[in-house]
Amino acid sequence: MPLRDITLDDIESLAVGAWVLGTGGGGSPYLGLLNMRALYKEGLRVQLMSSDELADDDWIAAVSNMGAPLVGQERLTDSRTIARAVALMEEHTGAKFRGIMSLEIGGGNSIQPLMAAAHLKRPVIDSDMMGRAYPEAQMTSVAVGDLKPCPLTSVDVRGLESVVDSVPTWKWMERVSRKICVEYGSIASTCKAPRTGAEVKKWGIHGTTTKAIAIGHAVREAQRRHEDPIAAILGVEPGKVLYRGKVADVERRATEGFLRGRTRLDGMDDHKGATLEINFQNEWIVAWLDGKPIAMSPDLICVLDSVSGEAVGTETIRYGQRVTVIALPPPKVFLSEKGLAHVGPRAFGYDIDFKSVFA
């Protein structure tokens, strides 16, 4: 099965499923979805390709939108800008991309490769580099694999175009590309360091677009049939329910460019009398049940509206919401010692050993 057509209904599901995989962050996929509706209305279509189909010497573009979600609410995502970032990378490197993949399947970046793919008539590769959303550039499978962090292209809709040609580390890439993004007005469409087919096959996190579509489809179908959407998610993903409760408190603060804080939940049903606290840094990072850590990154902690099954984000969660907290299994690449150094609890400042919900 070399290429599969992605229908508009798949993209509607992707928007819901990617928000779940966003684990509280990643930005809303709504404007990306609107762009795709417009592109499909114009007659453009996108196809999905498994990484198995790649030749080792193919070149793959990895894309993401960078910047402040708030700026994105005013300077609305335009599908052509991300396509331009990919084209600029081809001009710069001379390589022709076989396909386009997402840096981050969680949240709005799940749809960025589809927008570029529609304009450039290439397939979307069914893999990403996080399997979820994470706040920092070195929190990717390719950074764990010590793959080359450069070059990067960064494009602003006004025709401002930059190439970060050479940096020694992922951290340096984060610093330099962030500066460019801020000058643009805190929003930029970026194409990350090109990857070979061999690199994608070895270091990519595979099947994640398909997974996000399946999760979103399960939620939407359950909503339509008035069934339990959370049971529906667990029907398509080997996840575990951690807790059901009600939001009792939310505390947020912005430090070093991140939204940090915690939320406290009061238990309901089976969890009555127990308190769950979840710390976040843009995304949900560690969940503590009555003071004991029960789930932590890289396990995916997903906070879902108990009725609709849709994800609840760290920017919007508020007192009184009825939520169900589930864990989904993490990408294997993050379970190695090096992987945990990048995205384990200590990478976020929690001095605890990683213990998976699924161990």
């Binding site: 402040a68 005013e74 300077r75 609305l76 335009d78 007005g185 912005a254 460019g257």
Partner: protein, 512 residues
């Protein structure tokens, strides 16, 4: 201070006279197709006992669902010219891009997108392309469009491009009604622009409706300024309200919450407004409803209006009841209660029948519901209480017991004790709480913007100054201003200690 408050609802037009802080008289009249007649009838009824004769009335405050109904029912809408300043950004998602197709067909008169707009920190995004704006205005004129909605990127931070464009359009189209999105609110271009487009679409209806209100008041012989109540529980003078009809979209629910605050004397409490079909639950903070901070859909269009944060559930005085298994609502007999309820000779068991059977209400024919035993009635009340309790708990923003004010015609469904509630308060004239809320409305001003490189307290103080000036511009007496909401949110990803501050102030209407 003597004011008349009027609520023009779907079924009834309620009117109250408030004198020196007391409800002197409250009346109900059926709402009429032409609106004017219903208002005139209620005013006549209000004056019939002579309470108005020879007295100076300081203001007539009207709350109405007229404008939101026009959008929901797709009636009386004007064609709108959409002018967006912000090219080359956002071009793939033009104005009307996420509207229901039927509504877009009715309202979309044309779309123009030109260079302009600002950055999040106030730098210009692109210089305003004045020549393109003038060209667009010429094309609007050629198409015969008279209602224009202008939006611009980050205009809540810097409205100068929208204002300049409005001047340029007005020079070409002197008779046009122009809505600037910065007059309507918050960050979120599509939602703010949608609000502007809806507002422009209501331009003709707004002019006609407010003229009808003014005529009804003049015909009734009352000589007093007219105010229209707003979504946030304040009022705007008629001439300003005419310009921004979308601001009065949700004023009915807000007015009943404000009325509840007034009648109970409480400023911080939960309010439950039980009507015939639905129960609205909201929270009063400093005497005003807490606002929704998220997307509100109106007639299928995403907006970010200043709207009260309400939870509506299908519970009311007309709710269908089945006894085995026990079920209350969400279906209701609605306005057919007096025909379809068992106590009134109909066939459908309702919550009102249960109240009649158990002696809570004296209505209809008690003999017709004599077969309902006490145990069954208690089960129904318990189920209604459970539904209300869950909704109330969902709307609380903090743990702990809070007082609850129960208003509306179906308030009998709310028991005197509820978990999570310190005290349930039933008030006199509670069934006219919405008209009371209209009568007591104040004027507000709001500021919602991002401040950079400022200490938090300085940012809040700046926001407060802007909100104060806006309230005074809207007709408030500066001496009476007080801050009723102050919220700040640090912004992730933005550099330089960026903080988004939202402040709202209110004051009494300034004597004219």
């Amino acid at each position: 201070m003597r004011r008349i408050g009027i609520d023009v609802g779907g079924t009834n037009t309620d009117a109250v006279l408030i004198e020196e802080g007391k409800v002197v008289r409250a009346v109900k009249a059926p709402t009429s197709e032409d609106v004017t007649t219903g208002i005139l009838d209620s005013l006549k009824s209000l004056g019939s006992t002579g309470v108005l004769s020879g007295k100076r009335i300081d203001g007539v405050m009207i709350g109405t669902t007229h404008f939101i109904n026009a959008v929901v029912q797709r009636r009386h809408l004007s064609k709108v010219a959409a002018l967006r300043l912000g090219m080359p950004a956002s071009a793939s998602l033009p104005p009307f891009c996420d509207w229901p197709e039927d509504l877009a067909e009715l309202v979309r008169g044309g779309v123009w997108m030109v260079e302009g707009g600002h950055e999040y920190d106030g730098r210009p995004f692109m210089p305003l392309d004045e020549a393109a704006v003038i060209r667009a205005a010429g094309e609007m004129k050629a198409k015969g469009l008279k209602s224009v909605a202008i939006s611009s990127i980050f205009s809540p931070l810097d409205p100068s491009h929208e204002r300049r464009a409005a001047e340029l359009v007005a020079a070409v189209l002197p008779d046009a009604v122009i809505t600037c999105s910065s007059d309507l609110g918050r960050i979120g271009l599509l939602e703010r622009e949608n609000a502007g487009l809806l507002n422009a679409a209501l331009a003709d209806l707004s002019r006609d409706t407010i003229a009808a209100f003014e005529k009804a008041i003049a015909d009734s012989g009352i000589n007093a300024p007219l105010f229209i109540t707003q979504n946030d529980g304040t009022v705007a003078e008629a001439h300003q309200a005419r310009r921004l009809p979308v601001y009065s979209f949700a004023s009915g629910a807000t007015n009943s919450m404000r009325g509840a605050a007034y009648l109970s004397g409480l400023s911080d409490a939960m309010v439950v407004d039980v009507g015939g079909t639905t129960t609205d639950v909201g929270q009063l903070k400093h005497g005003f409803p807490r606002e929704a901070n998220s997307v509100v859909k109106v007639g299928g269009v995403r907006t970010l209006f200043r709207m009260p944060d309400l939870l509506s559930i299908g519970l009311g005085g007309g709710s269908h009841v089945s006894l085995d298994p026990i079920k209350v609502g969400p279906v209701s007999v609605g306005y057919r209660l007096l025909r379809d309820g068992i106590a009134f000779g109909g066939k459908q068991l309702t919550t009102t029948d249960i109240a009649v059977a158990s002696g809570v209400l004296t209505l209809g024919d008690k003999g017709k519901v004599a077969h309902l035993d006490t145990a069954a009635c208690q089960k129904v009340f318990a189920e209604a209480a459970r539904l209300a309790e869950e909704a109330i708990d969902r709307m609380k923003t903090e743990a702990g017991d809070v007082p609850l004010i129960a208003v509306g015609g179906g308030a009998f469904l709310i028991p005197d004790k509820l978990p999570g509630v310190s005290q349930v308060i039933h008030v006199e004239h509670g069934d006219c709480a919405n008209a009371v809320g209209a009568a007591i409305a104040q004027v507000s001003g709001e500021c919602d913007q991002i401040f950079k490189d400022m200490a938090r307290t300085d940012a809040i103080a700046s926001a407060q100054g802007i909100a104060n000036d806006r309230a005074v511009a809207a007709g408030a007496d500066r001496k009476t201003l007080s801050t009723i909401e102050s919220e700040d949110m640090p912004l992730a990803y933005l550099p330089g200690n960026s903080v988004r501050v939202r402040v709202r102030v209110v004051g009494d209407v300034a004597a004219s």
